[in-house]
Symmetry: C2
Subunit: 198 residues, 2 copies
């Protein structure tokens, strides 16, 4: 199927992704715009990953304060001052900061420094919950599953965004999606959450 300039433009208008990538996605999806959108979203994610070598030196410090009782400070980085002024970028910062306020993640990702004592304790609890008499291989699988749940609970990027009921994206996926859309590396650099009296 021939990919016309109009099809490319339509996809570009719908996704904000650059021309060349739209054209490639449409070719791959054999001209089906909906399929191409899904492909682009997947590419958006891998595109975000492929920018690991890029420096994210620009960005913003975002603060969210709920009623002077709970507040979050967040450093969200990107590559250029241009994106640092982008409205969607600011909206993402707001979404993440509000998410942190309510979901209280402990760290950004599994790569973050997590107190080894907490991890050890969690593994012990997981092990103690496995029914007796299971083969060792199954035991390890169950513990792995439980530890995955544990990490999803404490790592910001693995947590499901609260506001979105349909998409059920994680914060990490939202970051990668916008990263793909704006074709810039986006990084949650650090965050701090205060709650009165804690």
């Amino acid at each position: 199927m021939e990919i016309t300039a109009k099809m490319v433009k339509n996809l570009r208008d719908a996704t904000g992704v650059q021309m060349m990538l739209c054209k490639e996605a449409l070719k791959e999806a054999d001209g089906d715009i909906e399929k191409a959108k899904i492909l682009l979203r997947k590419k958006g994610i891998s595109q975000g990953d492929n920018r690991e070598h890029k420096d994210a030196k620009s960005g913003i410090i975002y603060t969210y304060n709920h009623d002077n009782r709970v507040a979050v400070m967040l450093e969200l980085r990107c590559e250029t001052d241009f994106v640092a002024k982008n409205e969607e970028f600011h909206n993402l910062a707001k979404t993440i900061a509000m998410h942190i306020a309510w979901s209280k993640p402990m760290v950004i990702s599994r790569d973050s420094v997590i107190d080894p004592q907490i991890v050890a304790e969690e593994e012990e609890i997981a092990r103690s919950q496995v029914p007796e008499g299971k083969p060792e291989q199954i035991v390890e699988k169950i513990i792995e599953g439980k530890m995955n749940k544990f990490y999803e609970g404490i790592c910001l990027l693995e947590q499901k965004e609260l506001q979105v009921s349909e998409g059920k994206m994680t914060i990490g996926e939202m970051v990668k999606e916008l990263s793909g859309k704006l074709t810039e590396k986006i990084v949650v650099k650090k965050f701090t959450r205060y709650e009165l009296g804690e």
Copy 2:
């Protein structure tokens, strides 16, 4: 000299300090309202200190954000929700947060945990700067003076407030003054400062 109710009321209006304390200060100052004000200010300071045993369980989380590039999050505690809503209390929080944004203190006070390596290095520098041939007693005095300067540089409560040109109060004195005025313990519980790219 007789202390009239009107004199007490005048002093109270001027300072916001409670009746009984105004009366006592006027007696001590022999009716001189300006002297009484100074006495009250001194008392305000000691009053703040004397509330050490009180619990400062209420308060606010204050956030200050300058242009999405520098931001400060501050927990300022007081004893009651009543004071937590007080305008002067909020103004103090704002003053402190802005001060932190520009002055970059490392810690709240000398009681805070300060990296012992930094202190040791600073002491070594101070010692190396003392001219040779001084008696040991003098050397220690000079080092003490230099270390005091160092602590003033890194401890929030010892730093001079930037905005005030006349009074030249430290942040700690400002906290104590308002504490005395509102007759409630006020405590800078914690703060975090973010600067983009740091």
